[in-house]
């Protein structure tokens, strides 16, 4: 348990009950019993979270259900990896969920309830935390067909279909910058899903709606295969 007492989330006055271990709780036999049991169950405590920045409480109680503690291991293919994502992009998206301007189906179902509970300080803290995590380069291990074709679209676009090169904004390695999200190592299913939302206009973004206007499903899959392989 002591490992945790130095962590930010245990100092968080709003969100944690264990902030005052020197109070009455430690005098309780029940609490001691439970502590002992948990130590048995969680020998791992010593190894925990020493390397990385402490996670805000919201991460371990909430975000991690779908995005994982570090934002690398997500629950479903449609859930984006957040590790190493740019801070300004993360902040903008959380705010867009909060004010409902990002209204694609999955965003509405899963993220609106989460974002409505966040104030701007928490949004910044979460964006900082996920931005600080190591990006998920080549972590999926799964190769999808179309990497070569996707790379060509990403780097050169498709001129006669008025699809510009993605790298112009997202960077030559898909690393993104500022408001342009990092795409390298993103999940295959998520990229296809978001391109679909941009294509049919359910996710509103003037730039991406125009870019994705002519993209075909096959091209979406190729690009997703390439980016998820990075």
């Amino acid at each position: 348990m002591t490992t945790y007492l130095n962590q930010d989330r245990l100092r968080n006055k709003e969100n944690d009950t264990m902030t005052h271990p020197h109070g009455k709780m430690y005098k309780s036999k029940t609490f001691l019993l439970f502590s002992t049991l948990l130590l048995v169950a969680g020998q791992a405590s010593a190894a925990v979270a020493s390397a990385d920045a402490p996670a805000p409480y919201r991460v371990s109680s909430d975000c991690m259900v779908c995005h994982g503690m570090t934002g690398r291991d997500t629950l479903y293919p449609i859930v984006p990896r957040l590790a190493g994502q740019h801070k300004s992009y993360l902040e903008a998206q959380l705010k867009a969920y909060k004010d409902h301007s990002r209204a694609d189906q999955n965003g509405e179902i899963y993220m609106w309830p989460v974002a409505q509970a966040l104030d701007s300080a928490k949004i910044t803290a979460l964006a900082d935390y996920f931005n600080a995590q190591k990006p998920p380069m080549q972590s999926s291990g799964i190769k999808h067909a179309g990497v070569k074709e996707g790379k060509a679209i990403f780097n050169q676009g498709v001129t006669n279909e008025q699809i510009p090169a993605c790298m112009e904004c997202h960077g030559s390695d898909g690393q993104g910058a500022g408001p342009f999200p990092r795409l390298a190592g993103q999940r295959y299913g998520y990229i296809i899903q978001q391109l679909t939302y941009f294509h049919n206009g359910t996710r509103v973004n003037t730039l991406m709606n125009q870019i994705a206007k002519n993209i075909t499903v096959a091209q979406m899959k190729d690009v997703a295969a390439y980016l998820s392989s990075l």
Partner: protein, 486 residues
């Protein structure tokens, strides 16, 4: 699930055939509206359709129901100086379930024999309203600690002595996530609960298996079940403490390794366990010592699929009251029931389009030992009972569902344990197929029509093999079930 009660049939042995119905079909658990209020997520985030869990539902349960998306002003703080000692939700954690049923048994209720457990039933087409009303208080108690408290009013069926409140499958749990590495997360929990497998994450285990609920007038309630299958909620009130851990590792949470260990004792004094279908001479006493339960399971996730394979064991020693005739508290012969399980579940989820398929299979093998001096099994000191349950469910857009399966119960014949209502040998052998169509006009309201076809019922195939002169098909059951939660 729940408490129902026992009805008696008098033959040479006083055989109390159970209205196991409610109890044995320990399907209790469900999608709770209070969880939706707490998280803001729709039922469909954590359930394909309640009570079947999705991987997201499994994470929510692992974390002890503590995930919230409540705003600061929706919580009440108890402070000591600058430290928050308690953080209580202002949002209601109360939920209610109401289940009702109409049941038709092929040969009418007389197929269970004169004085059968539903003696007061009308000859056929029995309505239960309510069959069961469940009251829940469930959700985050305070960060890291959550509860799933389940109180059930059971109709119980006529002539069963039912109609009362009982403490159904419940738990209080303290959990913690531990980040072991970049792709390695451990979630641990310490809990108190009253039902073996209540804490489980998959719908293959006795407390959560399909078909998810059944009328007290259905034939299934008269089928012998292994000890653990009969021990849910108020079926055999238990008190248990346990610890569990789930290590989730690999890219994209590819691997879930889950272990759970509990030990149970009687929660409410002397009990009757409907093991094998209630006999007055059966194991009616207290547990002798603690009954340990151990569970191991592995889940693999890839793309839209997840696959689980698991096993559990529970070792229960129960005082037999054949010597001390006052419902044994101690002394007298001890009967042991060792239950071993193998189970697997395969699930496909189209999370964008709300289509999904779940296929489940479980086999429970029970090894029975009867203490010297008992009258359950005067001719043999041991026996076995097996329960195999395979089924599948498909949901389309959360509104339409079709499910069906096959169940088989087989084991040593034992007139002392299972009674001689149907055959002199007391055979437990039963097999059936079932199919069920469901419609949800709203996500919290389900109507289902289920038909169960029996190939064999308590050892009975043809009418001539039945002491009561009914063939197995007389036990075919048609049920119309309604279920609303809010």
């Amino acid at each position: 699930m729940v408490s129902s009660s026992v009805g008696f049939k008098k033959k040479r042995l006083i055989v109390a055939l159970a209205a196991v119905g409610g109890m044995a079909l320990s399907s209790s658990a469900w999608a709770l509206p209070s969880f939706a209020r707490q998280t803001g997520w729709s039922c469909a985030a954590c359930h394909t359709s309640y009570p079947q869990l999705t991987p997201m539902g499994r994470m929510f349960k692992l974390l002890g129901f503590t995930t919230t998306n409540l705003q600061r002003q929706q919580k009440l703080q108890a402070k000591f100086g600058n430290s928050v000692g308690l953080l209580i939700s202002r949002v209601s954690q109360f939920s209610i379930f109401l289940q009702a049923s109409a049941t038709n048994v092929g040969g009418g209720q007389t197929v269970f024999g004169p004085g059968g457990s539903n003696a007061g039933a009308s000859p056929n087409n029995n309505v239960q309203f309510p069959q069961q009303v469940s009251l829940f208080y469930a959700g985050e108690i305070t960060p890291h600690i959550g509860s799933f408290l389940h109180l059930t009013y059971s109709g119980g069926g006529s002539g069963t002595g039912g109609g009362g409140f009982s403490f159904d499958d419940s738990s209080i749990v303290w959990t913690h996530p531990w980040k072991l590495g970049t792709n390695n997360l451990l979630v641990t929990g310490v809990d108190v609960n009253n039902t073996p497998t209540a804490m489980d994450l998959w719908n293959t285990t006795p407390d959560w298996q399909a078909p998810f609920f059944s009328s007290d007038y259905s034939s299934w309630g008269h089928v012998p079940q292994p000890f653990i299958e009969s021990s849910a909620g108020a079926g055999y009130p238990l008190a248990g403490v346990g610890i569990y851990g789930a290590d989730i590792f690999g890219p994209n949470r590819a691997n879930w390794l889950y272990a759970d260990a509990d030990v149970y004792t009687n929660g409410q004094g002397t009990q009757v366990n409907p093991v094998g279908g209630f006999t007055a001479s059966g194991p009616q006493g207290r547990l002798s010592g603690g009954a340990p339960y151990v569970r191991l399971a592995y889940q693999h996730d890839w793309g839209d699929w997840n696959w689980e394979v698991g096993t559990f064991g529970m070792w229960s020693s129960v005082y037999d009251h054949t010597i001390n005739n006052t419902l044994n508290k101690a002394g007298g012969p001890i009967d042991t029931f060792d239950d071993y399980d193998l189970d697997t579940q395969l699930q496909w989820l189209d999370t964008n389009d709300n289509n999904n398929v779940t296929i489940r299979a479980a086999w429970v093998n029970e090894q029975q030992q009867f203490g010297a001096g008992n009258i359950i099994s005067p001719s043999s000191s041991s026996g076995n009972l097996n329960f195999f349950n395979v089924n599948a469910t498909y949901w389309y857009h959360d509104h339409y569902g079709i499910q069906g399966g096959y169940r088989n119960v087989w084991g040593s014949a034992n007139p002392g344990l299972y009674g001689t209502t149907y055959t002199n040998s007391g055979s437990p052998d039963t097999s059936n197929e079932w199919i069920e169509a469901s419609y949800l006009p709203w996500w919290n309201t389900r109507f289902s029509l289920r038909y169960v076809v029996y190939n064999k019922f308590n050892g009975v195939g043809s009418a001539s093999s039945n002491y009561l002169k009914y063939g197995a098909s007389a036990y075919n059951t048609l049920e119309l079930l309604a279920w609303i939660s809010y």
